[in-house]
C-alpha cells in the first residue's frame, strides 16, 4: 500500500469513532443555538410579531426534529453496524425492495408536511406583514424611506422626521409604510420581527410593536451598494410621555424636510449621524412613492466608464 496519512483511514480508526464524532457534531449546533438564544436576535423577541414568528419557527423545527433526529441516527447506526468488518451483521444482498417499507418511507414525510402545511397556511395569514396588530392603542404611523445609504423615518401625524434613528412608543402598534429612494433594501429590526422589502415606486406595509422600552438594532438586509454596511439604525422604544417629549424636541430643532431638504438628503452618503427634521412636507412620502420626486442618483461612473474610480462619499 502507498504511504499517506493512514491514521485517518476508517479501517484503522474504526467506525465507532466515526459514529461518536458525528453525534458530537450533531449535538454541537443545538448547544450553540441554546447559547445564541441568550443574545439579542430573533430568538429574543421584544414584541408580539417577533414572538409569534419565533413560536412558529420553533414549532416547525420541533415537528421536523421528530423525524430528522431519528433519521440521522438510523443512518449512522446502519452505516456503522453493517460495516464490512462486523461479522455479526447479517448480509442480505437481495434485500432491495419492500412494499411495506416504501409505504412508510413515503408516508412519514407526507405526514410531516401535512402538519407543517397547516402551520404554514395559518402562520402566513396571521403574520402577513400587512395585517394590523390588534390593540386598544391607536397605531402610530411611520413612513420609511431607504436612501443611499441611510434610513429616513417620517412621522406624518406628528409632522417630524428623523434619519437613522427610529423612536416609537412602547406598547403601541406601529404601522409602517415603506418605499425606497433608489435601489431595493429590506427593513428589519430582528427583535421586533418580520422584515419587508422597500422598493422604488412602490409602497409595502409592515406592522410591528415593541412591548417594552428598550433600544433595538435595526438594519437593511438587502444588499444596496457600497454604503450598505452603514444602513443600520437603533429603534428606541420609549414610554408614551417620553415619545411626546421626543416629538416636541424634534419640532423645535433641525432643518425642514421639504423638497429642497429631501434633494439634499438624496445625495449618496454613508455613515450619516442620526438627526431630526423639525417639519415635513405632508405630501413628501407620496411624491417619493409615486416618483413625482425622481429616484436618487447613482454614482457618476464605474471602472471602465468615463470617470473611473468611484468612491462612496463619507
Amino acid at each position: 500500500m502507498p504511504t499517506g496519512p493512514h491514521w485517518l483511514s476508517l479501517r484503522s480508526a474504526g467506525p465507532a469513532t466515526t459514529g461518536r464524532l458525528c453525534v458530537a457534531t450533531l449535538a454541537l449546533p443545538m448547544i450553540l443555538a441554546a447559547r445564541a438564544a441568550e443574545a439579542a436576535g430573533v430568538l429574543d423577541p421584544e414584541g408580539p410579531i417577533g414572538a409569534a414568528n419565533r413560536q412558529i419557527m420553533l414549532n416547525a423545527l420541533g415537528i421536523m426534529l421528530v423525524i430528522v433526529v431519528p433519521t440521522i441516527l438510523a443512518a449512522l447506526v446502519f452505516a456503522w453496524w453493517f460495516r464490512e468488518s462486523n461479522t455479526k451483521a447479517r448480509y442480505r444482498p437481495g434485500f432491495a425492495y419492500s412494499g411495506r417499507i416504501e409505504l412508510i418511507v413515503w408516508s412519514i414525510p407526507i405526514m410531516v408536511i401535512l402538519f407543517l402545511g397547516g402551520v404554514i397556511w395559518i402562520g402566513s395569514h396571521e403574520l402577513d406583514p400587512a395585517t394590523p396588530i390588534q390593540s386598544q392603542n391607536k397605531p402610530l404611523n411611520v413612513q420609511v424611506v431607504s436612501l443611499d445609504w441611510k434610513w429616513l423615518f417620517i412621522y406624518p401625524d406628528q409632522g417630524v422626521a428623523s434619519v437613522n434613528d427610529l423612536v416609537v412608543p412602547a406598547g403601541v402598534p406601529v404601522r409602517f409604510m415603506l418605499t425606497s429612494d433608489t435601489v431595493m433594501n429590506a427593513f428589519f429590526i430582528p427583535q421586533l420581527g418580520s422584515m419587508i422589502y422597500t422598493m422604488n415606486g412602490m409602497v409595502t406595509q409592515l406592522h410591528l410593536q415593541a412591548d417594552r422600552p428598550g433600544d433595538y438594532y435595526g438594519l437593511s438586509t438587502m444588499f444596496s451598494g457600497d454604503g450598505f454596511p452603514d444602513m443600520h439604525f437603533i429603534a428606541h422604544s420609549v414610554p408614551a410621555d417620553a415619545f411626546e417629549k421626543w416629538v416636541a424636541g424634534a419640532r423645535g430643532n433641525g432643518p425642514a424636510l421639504d423638497q429642497a431638504g429631501y434633494a439634499d438628503l438624496q445625495r449618496r452618503k454613508s455613515r450619516v449621524q442620526p438627526f431630526t427634521y423639525r417639519s415635513v412636507d405632508p405630501h413628501l412620502f407620496e411624491m417619493i412613492a409615486t416618483q413625482k420626486i425622481p429616484p436618487g442618483p447613482g454614482p457618476d461612473a464605474g471602472r471602465g466608464g468615463p470617470g473611473v474610480h468611484p468612491q462612496p462619499e463619507g
Binding site: Y97, S124, M199
Partner: protein, 670 residues
Amino acid sequence: MLGKLTWDAIPWSQPIPLIAGAVVMLVLLGVLAWVVVKGYVPYLWREWITSVDHKRIGVMYTLLGLVMLLRGFIDAIMMRLQQALAFQSGGYLPPEHYNQIFSAHGTIMIFFGAMPFVIGLMNFVVPLQLGVRDVAFPTLNATSFWLTATGALLVNISLVVGEFARTGWLPFPPLSETGYSPGVGVDYYVWALQISGVGTLMSGINLVTTILKMRAPGMSYLRMPMFCWTALSANMLIVAAFPILTATLAMLALDRYLGFHFFTNEAGGNMMMFMNLIWAWGHPEVYILVLPAFGVFSEVISTFSRKPLFGYRSMVAATLFICIVSFTVWLHHFFTMGAGGDVNATFGIATSIIAVGTGVKIYNWIFTMYGGRIQYATPMLWSVGFIVTFVIGGMTGVLLAVPPADFMLHNSLFLVAHFHNVIIGAVLFAAFAGLTFWFPKAFGFRLHEGWGKASFWCAFIGFYVTFMPLYIVGLEGMTRRLQRYDVPEWRPWVLLAGVGIIILFAGAVCQVVQLVVSIRDRDKLRDEMGDPWNGRSLEWATASPPPAFNFAVLPNVQDEQPYWTIKQRAIETQQLPAEPDYQPIEMPRNSPTGFITAFFSTLTGFALIWHIWWLVVVGLVAAYAIFVWFAWRDVEDYVIPAEDVAKIDRERRHARQAWLDANARVGEPA
C-alpha cells in the same frame, strides 16, 4: 477603436487584484511555455482541444470545475478574512473590492465550479452507463464545453481588466442597471453567463437526447442506472430553465445597452419582474446541481454496500417528482416582498412538498445500507457524510419555507448557512465522491485512499465549524454581504467561521496532494481489470481507461444491474462469454469547431463588454462562419478496423480472464 477600453481599466492603484492577476498570468504563461517547449502542443490539439470524445470532454469539464472551485475558494478565504478583521473598522478590503469578491465568488462557484463539475461527471459517465459509444451530438458537446470555458475566462479577465459586478451573484435591478452600476462589472456578468448559458443549454439538449434515444439494446427506461435517471431529470430541467435565464439576462442587457426599461425605476420598469424571472430559473438551477449529486450517491452507496439500490422504482418516482415540483416553488426566495398570505402560504407549502421526494430518497439510501456489507472507501465516506449533512440542510431549508420564519431569516447568515449546507453537503461531497469513484475509469489508476480520507475529514469537520456559527449569527440578526460591522455579539461567531475555513483549506490541500501523489504512484494504484470497486453498471464492463469506442460490441442488457449479472455469470461458469464477432466501428472525427467558435465568442463577449462594436461583428461573423464550415463537412466519421477493435478488446478480456483465474475460485469477487 477600443470602445470604453483604456489603460485606466486596469486597477493600477489596487495591489491585490493587480498582483493576483499578475501571478495568474505568470502561471498561465509558464504552463503555456512548458507545453510549447516540451512539444506537447500537437498532442493537446489532437487529443484534447479538438476531441469530440465524451470522455475527454467530461474530463475537461471536471478539470475546469476543479480549477474554478479553487478560484472561488480563494475568494471565500478573502471574505472570511475581511469579516474577521472588519469589526468596527474597514478591514483590508474597501467596499468596491469586497462587493466584487462576493459577487464573483457566488457566480464562479455556481456557474463555473459546480455546474462544469456536475456536467463533466454526467458527460463522462452517462454514455458508459447506457452502454453506448458517445453522446448524441459529439461536436456540439465539444462546443458546449468550450463555450463554458469562454464564460469562465471572461469572469477571470474581469479581475484585471475593468471590474466584476458588485451586485451579488444574481444582479438584482435597479442596483444592476446603468444608473447604479455604470461600470463594466454587470456587463462582464451578463455576457459571461449568456455565452456559457448557450453552452449549458446545448449540453442539456445533448444529454437528454442521448438518454432518450441512445441506450444499449435491452436497456429500457426502468433498467437505467439511477445516475442516468437523475442526469435525465437534471438535463430536462436545464432545457426548461436555462432559456428563462437567457431571456432575463437579455432583458437586462437591453436595459443596459439600449435604454430599454424592463426593470428600471423609470418609465414603468418593474424590478419585481426580474426577481420572479431569475428565481423561476434559480430554483430549478439548485436542483440541476443536486439531482446528479443524488445520482452519484445512489451509485456509490449501492456499490459499497454491495447491494442493489433499495427501492429503485420509488427512487425514480421521487426523482421525477422533485424535477417537476422544483418548478413551482421559486417565490420562496422573496416571501418578504409582501405578496400576501395566500401567495406566501401556497409557495411555502409547495416548497415543503419537495422535501417529501428528498425524504424518500434519504430513507432509500439508508435501507440500501441496511443488510449491506459496507466498505468504507473514500466515496462511501463522502456519502455517509452527505446523508447526515444534507438532512440538516434540508431541515433548515424547510424552516425557511415557513414564511413567518423566513420573515426573520431571509438574507441573513442563516440563509447563507442553509444553502452552503446543501450545496457543499450534497453537490460538493458528490463531486468528490464521484471524482474518486470514476477517476480509475477515466485514467486507469485509483486515487490515493489515505489522502482522500484526510480530505474528507477536513471538509466534513471544516464545513461544520465554518457554517454552524453562521446559523447562530444569522439568528442573532446578522445579514449577508457586510463589508464591515460593529455589533460585538456577532464577532466570536464570525471568528469561529474563520477558523473553519482554515480546516476547509487543509481539505483542499489534501485534495491537491492526493492528485499529485496518485499520479506519482500511478503504477502501484493501477486498475488492471477495469472494475476496481466491484461495480454493478456497464461503465465497469469496459477497460480503464475505456477505448475510444467504449464497447467493442454494445452490451445486451437484461436487468437493472447489467454488469453485475454478466460478472456473476462469469464467476459461476468460470469463463468469460464467448468472444464476439468483431465489426469495424465508425466514430466521429475530431473537430476544432468548438474551440474556434469559443475563441470568437470570447472576442465577441469581450467586445460587447467594452463596446468595441467592430470586433463584435467580426467575432459573430467568424463564429457563424466556422459553424457553416462544419455543417458543410463531407467526411463525418472515421472507421476503426475490426482487427484493431479485436486487438483492443482481447486485451480487456485477457485482463478479466486473469482476474477470474486468480480470484473467482476463492469465492467472493474482489
